[in-house]
C-alpha cells in the first residue's frame, strides 16, 4: 500500500487522511467549568468539586472526522484574574479557542466577551473561536439568555453552544464543530507537528511548527 508516509491510510487505499494537529486554548472566568469541559471531553469524567487550575493544564485528544483525524493539544488555562497577564502565552499560536462562561452568571458572560475581544485583537487572525455557555444543567438558574449569547456569537462569527460538563451535553459536539471548522491544509498536517515544543513564546522552535497551520 503505497504512500502511507505521514498519513494514516485506510488499508483499501482511500486516504483516511491526514492527522492534523491543533493547539486549542480554553479561556474564561474562574469557576465557569473550563477544566470540567476538558475532563469530560478527554476522560469522560466529571467532578462536582473540580480543583481550581493554577497554571495551564495540558491534555491531548483526537477527534475523527470523515476524512481527517484532528488531534487537539488542549491548554486549559487558569481563570483567576490575577493570572490574566499570562494568558497570551497560551492563546498566542493557538488555532482554536473555547471561551467559556457560566449561564447562571451574567458577569462571566461579560468576561467572555472581553476574552473574545482580546483574542480578536491579539491572537492569530485565523483562530477559530467557540463560545460555550456552560452549566446548561442549571438552566433554571439561568442569567444569560440563549438568544442573547447566540446573537452575540453570530455578530462575532463565533461557534456557539450551551454545554454541560456535568451531563456531557454538547461537550463532544463543540470540539467536533471546531475540528470541522479548522482548515486542514497541507501545513496543518505537518507531521510530528508541535508535539514537543508546544509553547509559542518567542524563540521557541515549537512555535513555528504549530503556528504554520494558520498562516
Amino acid at each position: 500500500m503505497a504512500n502511507r508516509t505521514g498519513t494514516a491510510q485506510r488499508p483499501n487505499g482511500s486516504t483516511q487522511g491526514k492527522i492534523c494537529q491543533f493547539k486549542l486554548v480554553l479561556l474564561g472566568e474562574s469557576a465557569v467549568g473550563k477544566s470540567s469541559l476538558v475532563l469530560r471531553f478527554v476522560k469522560g469524567q466529571f467532578h462536582e468539586y473540580q480543583e481550581s487550575t493554577i497554571g495551564a493544564a495540558f491534555l491531548t485528544q483526537t477527534v475523527c472526522l470523515d476524512d481527517t483525524t484532528v488531534k487537539f493539544e488542549i491548554w486549559d488555562t487558569a481563570g483567576q484574574e490575577r493570572y490574566h497577564s499570562l494568558a497570551p502565552m497560551y492563546y498566542r499560536g493557538a488555532q482554536a479557542a473555547i471561551v467559556v462562561y457560566d449561564i447562571t452568571n451574567q458577569d462571566t458572560f461579560g468576561r467572555a466577551k472581553t476574552w473574545v475581544k482580546e483574542l480578536q485583537r491579539q491572537a492569530s487572525p485565523t483562530i477559530v473561536i467557540a463560545l460555550a455557555g456552560n452549566k446548561q444543567d442549571l438552566a433554571n438558574k439561568r442569567m444569560v439568555e440563549f438568544e442573547e449569547a447566540q446573537t452575540y456569537a453570530d455578530e462575532n462569527g463565533l461557534l456557539f453552544m450551551e454545554t454541560s460538563a456535568k451531563t456531557a451535553m454538547n461537550v463532544n459536539d463543540i470540539f467536533l464543530a471546531i475540528a470541522k471548522k479548522l482548515p486542514k491544509n497541507e501545513q496543518a498536517t505537518a507531521q510530528g507537528g508541535s508535539g514537543q515544543g508546544r509553547r509559542l513564546a518567542e524563540g521557541d522552535t515549537g512555535a513555528k511548527a504549530a503556528g504554520n497551520c494558520c498562516k
Binding site: 503505497a2 483499501n12 497554571g55 491531548t60 475523527c64 499570562l86 498566542r92 510530528g192 514537543q196 513564546a201
Partner: protein, 837 residues
C-alpha cells in the same frame, strides 16, 4: 507451525539449566545492518529466579534442529535500563524493526508482523514491568556473556558506570519517542487488528501463460481464456516470444503488443466486462492484468516493473515482467517470466529467478515481489525433463506414468533442493507437456532435433488463502510450438468493512490518547503562593517549595520566561534549582531567595513552572518591602525631616515631593557615615578593602533608617563599607548617567571637569560629589597611614560615583571615570564649591 515452534523452544531450552526457563522465543529474526538474507537469529526470553533476560542466538538454519545449531550471541538483562520498542520499515508492511535498548547499546531486528511477534513483544514488555518492582540478580547471565562476547561484556561493564543518562533515556521513551512514533504505532496496531475490520471475500483469479513462438495472433483466445463457465474476477495473462524480430530485441518496440492485447480483450469471458489494470512488456514478454469492471474501483496502487536477464545478463530476450496491485486490502503480485533455455541450463534458470526477485522494484511500497501477500508466478520457466530421451518420455506419457515423469522434471527437482521458487506452491500437473509441438498440430516435435517434451510453461503461487481450482493446458490452440496453460484460483481477498474499520481506528486513537495523557508528566507543588516576611535591603531570606512527581514518567521541569520578558524571574529573586528532572515518586525542593537591592514597595511576580511535554503551573511570589535610605533618591533624603522609618505617610509624601523645601545640602545619612569615617577612619589602613559581616551592615542600615542617638553600631571598616554601599545603591548615581560621557571626555582637563559639575549637576548631586571628594582629599593627607594614593581612590570611586545603570555595562569606560574623579582629588576644590551663577 505450532509444532515447529514448540520444537525450537525445546532446543533452546536445552541450552539452559533447569532453573533458567525459556518463556518464549521468536524465530526468523534478522539483525538490521547485516546482510539479512543469510544470518538467522532467534530471540529468547529467559527467566531465572524472577529475573528475565533477552537472549540473541545465532542459528545455522532458520529452524534449528539440534542444540549444536545454536550459539548465544548476546544476553541482555531486563532491568530498569532495558527498553524495547518497534518501528515500522519504510515501504514494508510485512515486517517491522524490533528495537532493544540497554544502556547505550541498541540492537535492531527485523521481524515479521504477526501473532508470534505480538506475543513475543508483549511477553518482553511484561517481563520488563515485573522486573522494575523486584530486586534482581543477574549473576546467572555471567556464564553466557563472558564465554561468548568479550568485547560486548566489557563494553557493558563500562557503560554500567554511566548512570546519569538513564533518566534522559527513560524520559525519551516516555514521551518524545512515543509522540513521534504515534503514527507508526497506529499503523502497526491497525495492521494487527486487521481481522477485526476485514473479512475474506473469495475472488476467482485466472492466470494464463503462453509462449507464442513469435507468431502473430490469428486465432481466437476464447478456448483458453473463456474455458470456464463463470467469468473470473481477475485475469493475469502472460505471453512470451510475442516478437522475435531484431527490432523488438534491440528497440523493445513491437506492434504485436497491441495486437495481442486486442485478442485478449476479445477472448475474455463474455459474461463480464473487463477493464485493463496494467499491461507491461519487455521485448517478447508481455503481461496483461484485467479485472471485472465491478471491482475496478477497489484496485489501488498499481505498479509495474521489468527485468532483463538475457544476453549480458540484462537484455530483454529473457527475464521477467511484473505487475503489483492492491485489490481491496490484499496486495497481489503477478510475475511473468521467460527463463534461460536448454536442458543443461537449469542453474542459469535458477539464477534468472533470483535476479528477477532481486531486481524487480515497483518503486512503491512494498517494492519487491516477496513482500506481497499473494504472488502468482507464471511463464515459460523452461525447465525440462532430464535424464530421459524423447522416446522414453513419449512412452511414459503413453502409459500415463506421470509420477515418474514429474520426478524427472527439473523444476520439481530444483524446487525440492530449495534452489528456486522455494516457498511457492504448484498444483498437480495432469496435462501433457506443453512443449514442443509441431506447428498447427498436437504432435510433439517431429523435426530432426526431436526435442523431448517438457512442461516448460508453469503457474505457481504463494500466499495464504489461495486455492487452485484448475490447472490445465489448452490443446486446441495450435499456432505456437507451446500450448497455452492456465490456472484458475479461488483467492481470499481481505475486504474492509468501513464501519468496523472506523470503529477500530477510533478505538485505537482513543486508547493512544489515553496512554499519552496518562504518560504526561505530572507534578504537585505544596504551595502555589510564596510570601516572604518584610523584605529589607540586602537582607536575603528564602522559602522552599516542594515539587513532587505524582505521574508515571520522569518530569523535566523548568521555570520559563513569560512573553516579552528577558528572564524567568525578576532580579530580586534567585531560584535554585531552576530546572531539573524528578523521577516518579520523587520530590525536589526548590529554594526561592529574595535579595532586595533597589527601592520597591513590594516584590511580586508570577513564576511559570513548565513541565517538558506537559502542563505549566503558576507560582506567585510576593512580599512587602521596607524602605531604606540605601535605595532612596538623594533628593528625597535631603528633604526628609526625620529618618525614613520614623516618617509618617504625610512626611514621606513631602520628602518625595520635589517641590518641597530642601532641608539638607547632602543626605543626613551620608553625612553620618562620612563624619564617622572622618573622625575615626582616616588613619585606618586599607579602610575600603575590608569585608564587614552582614549583621553589622544590617545594624548600620537600621541605625540610619530608624535614626538613633546611640553611636554607630559597627566598626569603622563596616561603616566604610556601608558608605560604599550607600553610594552604590541610591536610586540615582552621584553623577547622573546622562553626563557620564561628557565627564569622561572632559577628564583630561580640570577646568572642563569643573564646568560640567557646575553646570550640569543639581545642587544636591554636586554637593554630594564635592563633599565626597573633599573627604577623599582628607584621606590622601593621611596616605602614609591608610596606604591610599590618589590614583587608587580615583579608580575605586570613579566606578561608584559614575556608576552605570547596569553594573559594569561599559568596563572600558572605567579608566575615564577614574581620570575624571582624579581631577577632583588633586586640585583645590574651594572654587568649585561656589555655584557659578
Amino acid at each position: 507451525m505450532l509444532v515447529v515452534y514448540q520444537d525450537v523452544v525445546n532446543i533452546v531450552q536445552s541450552k539452559f539449566s533447569s532453573t533458567e526457563v525459556v518463556k518464549c522465543i521468536h524465530l526468523n529474526v534478522s539483525p538490521v545492518n547485516e546482510s539479512w538474507n543469510e544470518v538467522h537469529r532467534i530471540l529468547a526470553l529467559v527467566e531465572c529466579n524472577s529475573s528475565y533476560a533477552l537472549f540473541v542466538f545465532i542459528t545455522k538454519k532458520p529452524k534449528p534442529s539440534s542444540i549444536s545449531d545454536l550459539s548465544v550471541e548476546t544476553a541482555i538483562p531486563i532491568d530498569s535500563n532495558f527498553s524495547c520498542d518497534t518501528e515500522p520499515i519504510d515501504n514494508c508492511q510485512s515486517h517491522i524493526i524490533f528495537i532493544v535498548s540497554f544502556r547505550n547499546r541498541k540492537l535492531q531486528f527485523k521481524i515479521e508482523i504477526g501473532v508470534e511477534s505480538s506475543n513475543f513483544a508483549s511477553e518482553v514488555i511484561w517481563s520488563k514491568e515485573v522486573s522494575s518492582s523486584n530486586k534482581l540478580d543477574f549473576n546467572w547471565l555471567g556464564k553466557y556473556t563472558c564465554a561468548t562476547l568479550d568485547q560486548n561484556s566489557k563494553k557493558m561493564s563500562e557503560m554500567s558506570d554511566q548512570c546519569s543518562d538513564i533518566p534522559v533515556l527513560r524520559h525519551q521513551l516516555a514521551h518524545g519517542q512515543a509522540a513521534s512514533n504515534r503514527e507508526s504505532i497506529l499503523r502497526y496496531q491497525l495492521k494487527l487488528k486487521e481481522p477485526e475490520y476485514t473479512q475474506h471475500q473469495e475472488f476467482s483469479i485466472f492466470v494464463g501463460t503462453w509462449n507464442v513462438n513469435g507468431q502473430p495472433p490469428s486465432v481466437s483466445l476464447r478456448p483458453w481464456l473463456s474455458c470456464d463457465e463463470e467469468p473470473p474476477d481477475v485475469y493475469a495473462i502472460g505471453f512470451q516470444e510475442i516478437d522475435l524480430s531484431k527490432e523488438a530485441f534491440l528497440f523493445n518496440d513491437t506492434p504485436r503488443e497491441a495486437e495481442w492485447l486486442k485478442y485478449v480483450m476479445d477472448g475474455v469471458h463474455f459474461k463480464a466486462k473487463y477493464k485493463s489494470v496494467a499491461v507491461t512488456r519487455l521485448v517478447g514478454m508481455q503481461l496483461v492484468v484485467l479485472v471485472n469492471s465491478k471491482h475496478y474501483q477497489f484496485v489501488k496502487n498499481v505498479s509495474v516493473d521489468t527485468v532483463g536477464t538475457g544476453l549480458l545478463g540484462k537484455m530483454g530476450n529473457k527475464g521477467g515482467v511484473a505487475v503489483r496491485l492492491e485489490l481491496h486490502n490484499t496486495s497481489l503480485c503477478f510475475v511473468n517470466c521467460h527463463l534461460a533455455a536448454h536442458v543443461e541450463e537449469f542453474e542459469r534458470r535458477n539464477q534468472d529467478y533470483k535476479d528477477i526477485n532481486a531486481r524487480i522494484n515497483f518503486r512503491k511500497q512494498p517494492p519487491s515481489i516477496k513482500d506481497h501477500e499473494h504472488v502468482y508466478w507464471l511463464g515459460d520457466l523452461n525447465y525440462r525433463i532430464t535424464d530421459l530421451n524423447t522416446n522414453q518420455v513419449k512412452t511414459l506419457l503413453a502409459r500415463s506414468e506421470m509420477i515418474t515423469l514429474l520426478k524427472a522434471d527439473q523444476l520439481n527437482q530444483q524446487k525440492e533442493r530449495g534452489s528456486v521458487l522455494l516457498d511457492y506452491t504448484e498444483g498437480d500437473i495432469t496435462f501433457q507437456p506443453t512443449y514442443k509441438y509441431d506447428l498447427n498440430s498436437d504432435h510433439f516435435d517431429t523435426s530432426e532435433k526431436a526435442r523431448p517434451p517438457a512442461w516448460t510453461d508453469r503457474i505457481l503461487w504463494r500466499g495464504d488463502g489461495i486455492y487452485q481450482l484448475a490447472y490445465r493446458s489448452h490443446m486446441d490452440i495450435r499456432i505456437s510450438d507451446h500450448k497455452p496453460v492456465s490456472a484458475l484460483f479461488r483467492s481470499e481477498i481481505s475486504v474492509i468493512d468501513q464501519s468496523k474499520f472506523r470503529r477500530v481506528h477510533e478505538d485505537l486513537l482513543k486508547k493512544m490518547d489515553k496512554l499519552e495523557n496518562e504518560f504526561l508528566p505530572q507534578v504537585m507543588v505544596d504551595q502555589t503562593e510564596v510570601t516572604f516576611d518584610l523584605v529589607k535591603f540586602r537582607e536575603p531570606q528564602s522559602r522552599e517549595i516542594i515539587i513532587a512527581n505524582t505521574g508515571q514518567v520522569p518530569a523535566e521541569f523548568e521555570f520559563i520566561k513569560k512573553l516579552d520578558e528577558a528572564t524567568f524571574c525578576k532580579d530580586w529573586l534567585r531560584i535554585t534549582p531552576f530546572c531539573g528532572t524528578i523521577d516518579p515518586g520523587e520530590k525536589c525542593d526548590i529554594k526561592f531567595e529574595v535579595n532586595l537591592e533597589r527601592e520597591l514597595d513590594k516584590v511580586y511576580d508570577i513564576l511559570v513552572l513548565h513541565l517538558k511535554g506537559g502542563k505549566d503551573m503558576f507560582i506567585i511570589v510576593n512580599g512587602d518591602c521596607q524602605k531604606s535610605c540605601f535605595t532612596s533618591s538623594m533628593a528625597t533624603l535631603c528633604r526628609a525631616q526625620v529618618p525614613l522609618l520614623q516618617m509618617t505617610e504625610e512626611q514621606r509624601k513631602q520628602a518625595e515631593n520635589m517641590e518641597s523645601r530642601v532641608l539638607y545640602s547632602i543626605p543626613r545619612e551620608l553625612w553620618l557615615l562620612v563624619d564617622h569615617l572622618y573622625r575615626h577612619g582616616l588613619k585606618t589602613r586599607d579602610l575600603f578593602e575590608s569585608c564587614a559581616l552582614s549583621d553589622e551592615l544590617i545594624r548600620i542600615r537600621d541605625w540610619l533608617d530608624y535614626g538613633s542617638l546611640d553611636p554607630i553600631p559597627g566598626s569603622v571598616q563596616a561603616t566604610a563599607e556601608a558608605f560604599l554601599l550607600f553610594l552604590s545603591f541610591t536610586k540615582d548615581p552621584v553623577v547622573p548617567f546622562e553626563i557620564h560621557d561628557a565627564c569622561i571626555a572632559a577628564a583630561n582637563n580640570y577646568q572642563n571637569c569643573r564646568l560640567i559639575i557646575q553646570q550640569k549637576m543639581t545642587d544636591i548631586h554636586r554637593n554630594v560629589f564635592l563633599y565626597i571628594c573633599m573627604f577623599l582629599q582628607e584621606m590622601l593627607r593621611h596616605s602614609n597611614d591608610n596606604g591610599y594614593d590618589a590614583k587608587t581612590l580615583a579608580s575605586l570611586f570613579g566606578d561608584i560615583l559614575l556608576r552605570d545603570p547596569i553594573r559594569n555595562s561599559k568596563p572600558q569606560a572605567n579608566r575615564g571615570k577614574a581620570n575624571f574623579v582624579y581631577n577632583f582629588l588633586v586640585n583645590d576644590l574651594s572654587s568649585s564649591l561656589i555655584p557659578n551663577k
